[in-house]
């Protein structure tokens, strides 16, 4: 969601959002957004960002942070690879068999480039998640749970 909202904000400020939105009808946009959302949920199901409440050592916390960022970088690349491949291949099929050969290299470039961008976005998102977890730890540690007081 962070990525989608950021992309929409950048598209609006720097232009191109209207063309991108108006070029896609609602059912197609629903499928594209739902598919991306599903991939993100599947990836997030395996992610362990929140550290154990008992408290890790500084070393363990640093290792966990690096592991999280590495994991999100891999997940970002994986999501971009799967998403772009499926979306672009489906687009190919819909556009007719004649365009398959001429567009293959271009699609390949987009998929490879998109995968690299996805990994970069994953690193940024991973860093944000780690920072959010540190803040959540401060929120939860200052509280006095009623059944533990």
């Amino acid at each position: 969601m962070l990525v989608v909202v950021s992309a929409v904000l950048v598209g609006h400020v720097y232009g191109g959002l209207a063309e991108a939105l108006l070029g896609t009808d609602t059912p197609t946009a629903g499928l594209l957004f739902g598919y991306l959302w599903l991939l993100a949920l599947v990836a997030a199901a395996d992610l362990e960002v929140v550290a154990s409440p008992g408290g890790d050592s500084a070393d363990a916390r640093a290792r966990r942070s690096v592991g999280t960022i590495g994991w999100t970088a891999g997940a970002g690349a994986g999501i971009a690879l799967v998403y772009l491949t499926v979306v672009l291949v489906l687009g190919f099929v819909a556009s007719g068999p004649g365009s398959t050969d001429t567009g293959t290299v271009a699609v390949g470039r987009i998929v490879v480039g998109g995968t690299v961008v996805g990994a970069g976005i994953g690193i940024v998102v991973g860093g944000l998640l780690v920072a959010c977890d540190r803040m959540a730890a401060a929120v939860a540690s200052d509280a006095v749970p009623s059944d533990e007081a």
């Binding site: 209207a18 939105l21 929140v50 959540a136």
Partner: protein, 144 residues
């Protein structure tokens, strides 16, 4: 009477915004008036919130298709920029809030003390951000 898909998109958008705003305000009030707040209730809200937020973003894009994307230099365009900025802040703050609730769950805490100021302010912040989003949505739709 034919009902357009845009009516469905608009309806879902308003319902999702109502659910997120109403839920966060009710939980903020719960922190103010109750002795403690159930972690199960907070967990349910977090699950519903993220589903609702996904629906809000998608139907928001649908509304932009239906009503047109305003130019960024106009009043409506500025309102859209502000709305998306507030939405980003809301998403980041909500990640912190959800992680805090997950920590309570892992501690197997049944209820959070209502004196937990930081968690209370996170729900208050969620409510205020969503209220700002609603006002900005009104500006985008009808202008100042």
């Amino acid at each position: 009477m034919a009902v357009s898909e845009y009516l469905l998109v608009r309806t879902l958008h308003v319902l999702a915004a109502s659910m997120a705003l109403g839920g966060s305000v009710v939980l903020w009030l719960a922190f103010r008036v109750a002795d403690d707040v159930s972690v199960t209730l907070l967990s349910w809200f977090e699950g519903l919130f993220w589903g609702t937020a996904g629906l809000l973003v998608f139907t928001g894009l649908g509304n932009l298709v239906a009503f047109g994307v305003p130019d960024a230099t106009t009043t409506r365009g500025t309102a859209l920029t502000l709305k998306l900025g507030v939405l980003l802040v809301l998403v980041l703050g909500s990640i912190v809030r959800t992680f805090a609730v997950v920590r309570y769950e892992r501690l197997e805490v049944c209820a959070v003390d209502a004196d937990d100021d930081r968690l209370r302010w996170l729900y208050a912040g969620t409510g205020w951000c969503l209220a700002a989003v609603v006002v900005l949505a009104g500006v985008i739709a009808r202008g100042l």
